[in-house]
C-alpha cells in the first residue's frame, strides 16, 4: 500500500472525532442550559461565547460539541453496521457464486435502485421516534449495498490470484482462507468503502435531524442546529455558519481521504505491486 494520505484531512477528521469524544469536558456550558433568556439570547460570537448564543440563550459552541457527538457517533456506528453487512454479503456472493451470487446481487441492485432518503423515511416512519443507536442501525442497514458490490468484486479478484489458488489446492479450510488470506487483501477496499460511507452518513444523519426525523431537541445534532436556524434573518449568521462549516469540512476531509486511498490502490495496480 503506497497511499499518500492527505495530512490536512486526517487532522480535520481526528480533531472532529476528538471533539465529539471529549465534548462533556470541552464544552464550556451544558448544551441545553438556557443561560439567561432575557439578556443572553441572540448574542454574536464573543469571548464568553466563542460561537455565540441561540434564541434560547444556549451556548452554540457547547451545542456544536455535543452535536458532534450525536452526528459523528451515529455516522461511525452506521459505517460499522454497513461495512459488516456489506462485507458479509459481498464475500458470500463472491465465494458462493452461481445462484446465491445472482440472488444477492439482484437484491442489492433493487435496493440501490430505491432512493435512499425515501427508504430512510419509510423505515424512520415505521419506528416512530428513534434513539441514536437505532438511528445508526437504520442508516447502516440502508447503506451496505455499495460496500457489498465493492467487496464482491475485490474478493472475486483475490480468489483468482495465484497465492489463493495455491492455498485452496493445499486444502486450507474456507473460514481460515477468508480470514487469513482474503480479509487482509480486502483492507484497502474496506478503507475506501468506510470513508466513503462516513462521508455519506454525516449528511444523511444531519439531514434527517434537520427534517425533525432523526436526533430531536433537546439533544443536539449538527442537523437540528440548522433546523433551529432555518429562515432566520442573516443578522444571526453564526447560527447557520458554524454548523454548515462543521458538516462541510468533515465531509470534505472524509471524501479527500477516500480518494487518496483509492488513488493509492490504483497506483499499486499500475506499478504491479498488487
Amino acid at each position: 500500500m503506497t497511499a499518500r494520505l492527505p495530512r490536512g484531512a486526517l487532522v480535520v477528521l481526528g480533531a472532529m472525532l476528538a471533539a465529539a469524544a471529549l465534548a462533556p469536558w470541552l464544552a464550556p456550558y451544558a448544551p441545553s442550559a438556557q443561560l439567561d433568556p432575557a439578556t443572553l439570547a441572540w448574542r454574536p460570537p464573543s469571548l464568553a461565547h466563542p460561537l455565540g448564543t441561540d434564541s434560547f440563550s444556549r451556548d452554540v459552541l457547547s451545542r456544536m460539541l455535543h452535536g458532534a457527538r450525536s452526528t459523528l457517533g451515529v455516522a461511525v456506528l452506521a459505517v460499522a453496521v454497513s461495512l459488516t453487512l456489506g462485507t458479509l454479503v459481498g464475500a458470500l456472493a463472491a465465494t458462493a457464486r452461481g445462484g446465491i451470487d445472482a440472488l444477492l446481487m439482484r437484491l442489492t441492485d433493487a435496493l440501490l435502485a430505491m432512493p435512499r432518503l425515501l427508504l430512510l423515511l419509510l423505515v424512520v416512519a415505521g419506528a416512530g421516534t428513534l434513539d441514536l443507536a437505532p438511528l445508526a442501525l437504520v442508516l447502516g442497514a440502508t447503506g451496505w449495498m455499495t460496500t457489498a458490490r465493492l467487496v464482491r468484486q475485490e474478493t472475486a479478484r483475490l480468489l483468482a490470484t495465484e497465492h489463493l489458488r495455491g492455498a485452496r489446492v493445499l486444502g486450507v479450510p474456507w473460514p481460515r482462507l477468508l480470514r487469513r488470506h482474503v480479509l487482509p487483501g480486502l483492507a484497502p477496499t474496506l478503507a475506501v468503502a468506510a470513508t466513503a460511507a462516513f462521508a455519506a452518513a454525516v449528511p444523511l444523519e444531519s439531514g434527517l435531524s434537520y427534517l425533525g426525523l432523526g436526533v430531536r431537541t433537546p439533544l443536539s445534532s449538527w442537523g437540528n442546529l440548522l433546523a433551529d436556524a432555518e429562515s432566520l434573518p442573516l443578522q444571526h449568521w453564526w447560527l447557520i455558519l458554524f454548523p454548515t462549516l462543521a458538516i462541510a469540512t468533515t465531509v470534505l476531509a472524509a471524501n479527500r481521504l477516500a480518494e487518496a486511498i483509492a488513488d493509492g490502490m490504483q497506483r499499486d495496480v499500475d506499478e504491479g505491486t498488487r
Binding site: A113, L117, I247, N255
Partner: protein, 321 residues
C-alpha cells in the same frame, strides 16, 4: 437487440414490482394508519375505526392488499388519497410535471456545464486553474443539498429578495409569457441548488476520464492523422471519455426523485418529492404506493435511456448480444 430490450423490460418490471412491494409493506408496518389524524381521539369508538379500515380493505393481509393494488394499477386505478381528499391519479398528475421540470432543468444545467468543464479540466490537468476547479468541485459536493438549499433561501431569497422564497408561481400572478417568466424565477433557486452537487460530480468524473483517455494510443493516432487539437479532443477523446459520465447519469436518474424530496420541501415546490414526503408522514397508503410506482417506473426508464446512450458512446458494449 430485440432480445436484449425484452430481457431489460422484464428485469425492469421485476425491479419496479420489488421496489413497490418493499415500500408497500414498510408503510403498512409503520404505527398508525391513514385515519390517525382524524380518528386518534378517545371519543372515537374502536368499532368506527375498524369500519373505516375495513371499508378500504386495510384489515386484509398485506400480500392480499398488494395483489389487489397491482391488479387495480394495471387497470389504471391507483385509489383514493386520504390526506389530499382526491384520487391518487389526480394528485400525481398535478405534481409529476412540476418535479419533471425541476429534475430536467437541473440535469440540463449539471450535465451541460459539468461535461465541458470537466473535459477542459482533464485535457489541461496540469494547469493550476484546472486543479483549483477540481478542489472547488470536491468542496461543493461535500456540502449536503439541504444545507445548500437553506443557504439559498436565506441569502438570495430572504435577505436580498432576488428570488421568491418558495412555491412554483405567484398566486393570482401573471399568465401567458409573463407567467412563464414567473415560473422561471421560482425555478431558479431550487434548480440551481439541485444542479450544483450533481454538476460537481459530473465535472470530476469527466475530468478523470478525459485525463486517462488523453494519453491513450488511439488519441495519439488521431493526432498523427493531422487533426487539429480541438478536433482530437472533441471528436475522439471526449466521445470515449463520456462513458463513465453516462453511466453516472443512469444512476443519477434512478435516484433523482430521492434527491428532490428535501429540495422540494425547503422551496415548497409542488412536486412529487414533497407529495411522497407528506404521504409517508400522514400514512397515506394509496398515495405512497402510487407515488413510489411512478418513481420506480421513471427510474427504470431513466436507467434504460442511459444504457442506450452508453451503447452509442461505447461501441464495445454492443458486441455482447
Amino acid at each position: 437487440m430485440a432480445r436484449a430490450v425484452l430481457s431489460r423490460l422484464l428485469q425492469g418490471t421485476l425491479v419496479v414490482l420489488g421496489v413497490v412491494a418493499i415500500c408497500f409493506t414498510l408503510i403498512r408496518l409503520a404505527p398508525g394508519d391513514p385515519f390517525f389524524r382524524a380518528l386518534d381521539e378517545a371519543t372515537v369508538p374502536a368499532a368506527q375505526r375498524d369500519a373505516q379500515r375495513a371499508a378500504f380493505g386495510y384489515d386484509r393481509p398485506i400480500p392480499e392488499q398488494f395483489v389487489r393494488f397491482v391488479t387495480n394499477a394495471a387497470r389504471g386505478e391507483l385509489g383514493w388519497s386520504h390526506s389530499r381528499g382526491e384520487p391518487v391519479a389526480r394528485a400525481l398528475a398535478t405534481t409529476v410535471p412540476a418535479s419533471a421540470l425541476l429534475i430536467a432543468v437541473a440535469a440540463l444545467l449539471a450535465f451541460g456545464v459539468g461535461i465541458p468543464l470537466g473535459a477542459w479540466m482533464g485535457w489541461h490537468a496540469e494547469r493550476p486553474a484546472a486543479r483549483w476547479l477540481d478542489r472547488g468541485a470536491l468542496l461543493l459536493l461535500s456540502v449536503p443539498d439541504y444545507v445548500l438549499a437553506l443557504l439559498a433561501v436565506m441569502g438570495p431569497a430572504l435577505a436580498w429578495r432576488l428570488f421568491p422564497v418558495g412555491g412554483m408561481r405567484t398566486e393570482f400572478g401573471p399568465t401567458g409569457a409573463a407567467g412563464l417568466l414567473d415560473v422561471a424565477r421560482h425555478l431558479a433557486l431550487p434548480a440551481l441548488t439541485l444542479a450544483l452537487p450533481i454538476g460537481a460530480v459530473v465535472a470530476r468524473l469527466q475530468r478523470a476520464a478525459m485525463r486517462t483517455v488523453r494519453d491513450a494510443d488511439f488519441v495519439r493516432t488521431a493526432r498523427a492523422t493531422g487533426a487539429s487539437e480541438a478536433r482530437v479532443a472533441r471528436r475522439h477523446a471526449l466521445r470515449s471519455a463520456l462513458v463513465p459520465v453516462l453511466a453516472y447519469a443512469g444512476v443519477h436518474l434512478a435516484t433523482a426523485l430521492g434527491g428532490v424530496v428535501v429540495i422540494e420541501r425547503i422551496f415548497a415546490w409542488p412536486g412529487m418529492g414533497r407529495l411522497l414526503y407528506e404521504g409517508v408522514l400522514s400514512r397515506d397508503y394509496p398515495l405512497v404506493a402510487g407515488g413510489v410506482l411512478v418513481a420506480a417506473v421513471g427510474a427504470v426508464v431513466g436507467t434504460m435511456l442511459a444504457d442506450l446512450a452508453l451503447r452509442w458512446a461505447d461501441p464495445r458494449q454492443r458486441g455482447f448480444e
